[in-house]
Symmetry: C2
Subunit: 278 residues, 2 copies
């Protein structure tokens, strides 16, 4: 059994970012991330602080644009247009989910594709769908893929089962796994006999957000598990979708939560800020 | 066993098209399809003649823009820009594959999204990926879905196996099946033990283009088979991916080739021309 720690993966990515930032500075370029946050949801602020700290460590400038939760779609588009036009800004991150009165489709597509480091824009998402992996990718599925690659988990011809069908996680992850020549199954709440489906997989990737949902009956000795879920368990402790303590000894590899996919996501985001600056 | 004939499905779609065309004419609107063909590949001309005949039958105007195979990307873009700007044209179809010297990505995205009745443009493809099925869809996967719906094949919670991972067929088909709450597996040339994977499916959809590739060992009594393949067999006769004669009596439902998905595709295309005119 191998613990697929995110930390080592993130470290490697960060070392590359440092070099790239250095190189850019020598050319007089300074990568800068604009963070757009509405209201002050504690989860958003927690993530924001982590991003700001990471930016500082890596020599990337960050600036937070905090707006009231009641902002209109129109005013938010105006802000994004300003940020798109502001030359000093390389990348733009908008925290989601957005309040219900805001038209998310309009906002997503108001971020200029060249500054869309979180891959919200339909054009960038469309590229992923078309198998073009050269542009910006959604950070969470990309982090999952980086972990598989870092630990040299074979994907070609393997059965990969994804438990999530969202546009932000499950679907782009499916496209990325297809690019690696995996056979890909996309599961969701209506899937019958998920236990059997997961048990037949070589790699299981879950992003359900239900703490400790999957016990040992879903896996086998050779299973590789990428746990993208993160939600509080019955004791209020943050936990993945996998009942880790009951599972980890009887599988071939598993990402911990915390310390797994989530710890790589920010590095992917900042890598993309640097790419945007180039 | 049920033969899932495309003819009946196409008939229903065509009746609706006729009504819609009538309604549009009463408003002074006349749907028109522009067909862009490079060179004179016999398959293209065969398909073109079938489209022109169907257009006539349904009261849709069609016009063919034939260009030399040696046309440059730039000149083809100029033609598409003209067609985009020409108000009388509702929809544009460009025959593919394009010659190798032409940049297909540029051409695809040069068709205005509102006239893109074959769903080439990244914006329209992106909508499919995002689960928005309100716009134009790629005609072949959409035809497969219309057959499943017409014959009231249950999809919710069913295991659907797609043997094709192209952006034109397999991937959009996966997205459409997910919208119907099927569990979706995408297979391809690197898939191991395809026989087992197909045999565990409730619905198998193949688009491999290898005549009679799949015999009875891939299916069971309850299998529903949608055969999107079309290629000449060893006697030169057009055939699907399924070894039909050996399979059809031992499954629950199967589309014939010819007379299956292919016979619905043109109706989908023309339905989208009418939608574009609206």
């Amino acid at each position: 059994m191998k613990i697929l720690k995110g930390k080592d993966v993130a470290h490697t990515i960060r070392e590359q970012i440092k070099k790239d930032v250095e190189g850019l500075k020598n050319q007089g370029k300074h990568p800068k991330l604009a963070i757009v946050r509405l209201g002050s949801n504690p989860d958003d602020i927690y993530y924001e602080n982590s991003i700001i700290k990471n930016c500082k460590d890596l020599g990337i400038v960050s600036e937070v644009f905090e707006k009231d939760l009641s902002i209109s779609t129109e005013n938010l588009v105006d802000l994004l247009t300003e940020l798109n036009n502001e030359e000093s800004i390389s990348g733009i991150l908008v925290f989601r989910p957005l309040p219900k009165h805001i038209d998310e489709n309009i906002i997503r597509n108001s971020v200029s594709p060249g500054k869309d480091v979180d891959c919200m824009n339909s054009l960038n998402l469309g590229k992923i769908f078309e198998g073009d992996m050269t542009g910006f990718a959604p950070c969470t599925p990309k982090a999952a893929m980086e972990i598989l690659k870092y630990y040299e988990i074979p994907m070609e011809g393997k059965n990969a089962v994804i438990i999530n069908r969202s546009t932000v996680v499950g679907k782009p992850l499916a496209m990325m796994l297809l690019e690696e020549n995996a056979t890909v199954t996309i599961c969701h709440s209506r899937t019958r006999d998920l236990e059997k489906v997961a048990k037949e997989a070589d790699i299981v990737l879950t992003a359900l957000g239900r703490a400790k949902m999957f016990g040992p009956e879903y896996f086998h000795k050779e299973s590789i598990i990428i746990d993208i879920g993160m939600s509080p368990d019955s004791q209020g402790k943050m936990s993945g979708d996998i009942d880790y303590d009951k599972v980890y000894q009887d599988v071939a590899g598993i990402t911990p939560v915390p310390g797994g996919v989530g710890s790589v996501t920010t590095s992917i985001l900042l890598k993309q800020v640097v790419e945007a600056c180039k």
